[in-house]
């Protein structure tokens, strides 16, 4: 048989793999391929090989470590024997629990408040301030890359497990203290999220203006806890890179209240220049108009038994601050006189103008449902979005397809809905992932003390009976 003559292809003419893929695929499809949430577990993890100790409580410091664990670090969470992190008991009420908390407490569960702050971690119990525990901590530190703790400043130092002592055992060790104020005049101040929001200056610019009867408002959820936890993670990643270059550890001293100050934006620098203090402006905007949230007359769920849907599904975010957009908006709501009156952005930004414009908008919307308002404005080419609640976030197709929220099968607790850290960014090569949401108190005692540190089982049993672990 005659051999088939292959056509000669020059090497230069062969498109490279990237060009080939990119040529074939439009951007949308390309992203869908590389970020596919279904392929998460086929890909490697960025922080694999890092071992971290989490001596943390509540949301703020645990979340900083949870970020590492979602990116692949092996995190060992250390809790008080039999009791655990107090956040396990600080949950929404009425049986929103996952059982069990611990083998000795079958009637106690862990509340949903614990969610997302402690993903993918291994759980051991240890009472650090017993003298017997010090050696165990040292052994853990010898095998780990870092530790995060949230006790009052200097507490670990007093117990003999502070950075000064630990860096002698392991000079590559990265030590994070996260708390309220840190060293300085307010060293003894503890912290809660609300304290951070208040002390940092954020609460003073949240809420409606005092002329409308407004008061400083905190966010309903613990936003500054979540935010400052993430900022610790940024510090840890920088410290890891520094250690790669120099071989030396770092101590990170992280005061939560300063995070709220960062979230205040340009307010503080502007005070430094002009001596002026920012005012609250609630659901409207101080720099753009129209750019705010308005209330419509009718709910999208008029007959729902849940008052949060029946009464609250009435708010719409509207944005039309460019001249053409604002003109369109005025004609849509049948108030061309407003356009004649406020033709420049500077004019409509004045407080008196905003009061009149938003008043007219709400009056126009007073006989319409939320979705009617959104449809009318969207059809007119304006930006309008309903203010969504948890139910609508769950039902939002955009979030589902991107994997921002997803159902996972937790190995112990069964079917759980998570939103994890997927929302902070999708990594194409090393995506974040949730393997399990949490485990019972001390669930990995044998795994860590026996399999990792090599203590005999009899020793573990003895510690357990004495209440050290």
């Amino acid at each position: 048989m005659r051999e088939k003559v292959k056509p000669e292809i020059k090497f230069e003419e062969i498109p490279g793999p990237e060009e080939l893929e990119l040529e074939k695929m439009p951007y949308e499809e390309y992203c869908r391929k590389i970020f596919d949430p279904k392929k998460t577990f086929e890909k490697p993890e960025a922080l694999k090989g890092i071992r971290w100790l989490s001596c943390t409580m509540y949301i703020f410091t645990p979340h900083s470590v949870s970020n590492l664990a979602e990116l692949g670090a092996e995190v060992i969470k250390v809790e008080m024997p039999r009791a655990g992190d107090p956040m396990r008991h600080t949950s929404p009420f009425n049986e929103a629990y996952l059982y069990p908390l611990h083998d000795t407490r079958p009637f106690t569960g862990t509340g949903y408040g614990y969610f997302h702050a402690n993903l993918n971690e291994y759980y051991i119990s240890l009472d650090y301030h017993r003298p017997e525990a010090r050696e165990i901590v040292y052994n853990l530190v010898r095998m780990s890359d870092g530790l995060t703790e949230c006790y009052r400043p200097g507490t670990f130092h007093r117990w003999g497990i502070g950075y000064k002592q630990l860096c002698e055992i392991n000079p590559r060790f990265i030590y994070v203290w996260g708390g309220g104020f840190g060293y300085g005049p307010k060293v003894f101040g503890g912290s809660y999220d609300i304290l951070g929001q208040a002390q940092g200056g954020l609460a003073s610019i949240t809420g409606f203006h005092e002329d409308f009867g407004g008061h400083p408002v905190k966010h309903t959820n613990w936003v500054i806890d979540w935010y400052s936890g993430t900022m610790i993670t940024v510090g840890v990643l920088a410290a890891l890179y520094w250690r790669r270059k120099t071989g030396l550890g770092t101590m990170i001293e992280f005061s939560q209240v300063h995070c709220a100050t960062r979230a205040c934006g340009y307010g503080v620098p502007l005070y430094g220049r002009f001596g002026i203090v920012r005012q609250r402006w609630g659901n409207w905007d101080t720099q753009l108009c129209v750019h705010g949230i308005i209330r419509t007359g009718k709910s999208d769920y008029p007959n729902d038994p849940n008052p949060q849907l029946r009464e609250e599904a009435k708010y719409v975010m509207v944005s039309a601050f460019q001249d053409e957009d604002f003109r369109e908006l005025c004609y849509v709501i049948g108030r061309p006189d407003l356009w004649e009156k406020y033709k420049t952005h500077k004019e409509r930004l004045k407080p008196e103008a905003q009061i009149e414009i938003y008043g007219a908008l709400e009056q126009w919307a007073s006989d319409k449902t939320r979705s009617e308002v959104v449809d009318i404005l969207t059809d007119a080419g304006l930006l309008a979005m309903p203010v969504m609640n948890d139910k609508e976030v769950y039902e939002c197709q955009h979030f589902r397809e991107r994997g921002t929220i997803r159902w996972i099968e937790d190995p112990i607790f069964g079917d759980v809905l998570v939103h994890g850290g997927f929302s902070v960014g999708l990594l194409s090569e090393t995506p974040r992932r949730v393997r399990w949401v949490w485990r019972p108190v001390g669930a990995d005692n044998v795994r860590v003390y026996h399999e990792l540190l090599g203590y005999p089982i009899s020793q573990i049993k003895e510690w357990y009976d004495k209440g050290i672990i």
Binding site: Y99, V416, W436, Y449
Partner: protein, 161 residues
């Protein structure tokens, strides 16, 4: 200014009921409030959280603007009128979801119909020192829920979302 002027309560001396308004909403407000314990109506005018006028008792049968949110009778023990008592207090529309009624709601299945390990007590299944395995075998550890789940599967009540 005493404390009594500051807090937005109306103490009805006739039936010894303390009626509570809600401080933020009534920071600056004037109108008539009906007592939760009896049919008397009180006029109040609040400025910056302080009583400017009132509480002033109105003639009987006067139409009222609003009912208190909550009321109690401190001199008669712990008797109280919770928000939403018909004819006495107004409903609190910011109430959380209707499932939060104060009694335990032990969920066996998530909203898409798959089992969760969310009820107490749980059988101890662990090894030494509270250790837990990684896999919760629902068929073995909770056979009743497993059976219920099979029924749900057959009925098509288990969804993807």
């Amino acid at each position: 200014m005493g404390v009594m002027d500051l807090t937005e309560i109306i103490w009805c001396k006739h039936c010894n009921t303390v009626n509570y308004l809600d401080p933020y909403t009534f920071w600056n407000w004037k109108g008539k409030v009906k007592c939760a314990g009896c049919d008397r109506v009180y006029y109040v005018h609040i400025i910056q959280g302080f009583y400017y006028e009132g509480p002033k008792e109105m003639p009987p049968g006067e139409p009222y603007d609003i009912m208190p949110l909550y009321a109690d009778k401190p001199l008669e023990g712990y008797e109280s009128y919770k928000p939403g008592t018909p004819g006495r207090t107004r409903p609190y529309l910011c109430l959380p979801r209707e499932i939060y009624l104060g009694k335990a709601d032990k969920v066996k299945f998530s909203i898409r119909g798959r089992p969760v390990r969310g009820w107490a007590p749980q059988p101890p299944s662990s090894g030494l020192a509270g250790s837990q395995g990684f896999k919760w075998d629902i068929e073995k550890l909770s056979p009743d829920v497993w059976k219920e789940y099979q029924v749900k599967l057959r009925k098509g009540e288990v969804r993807e979302w």
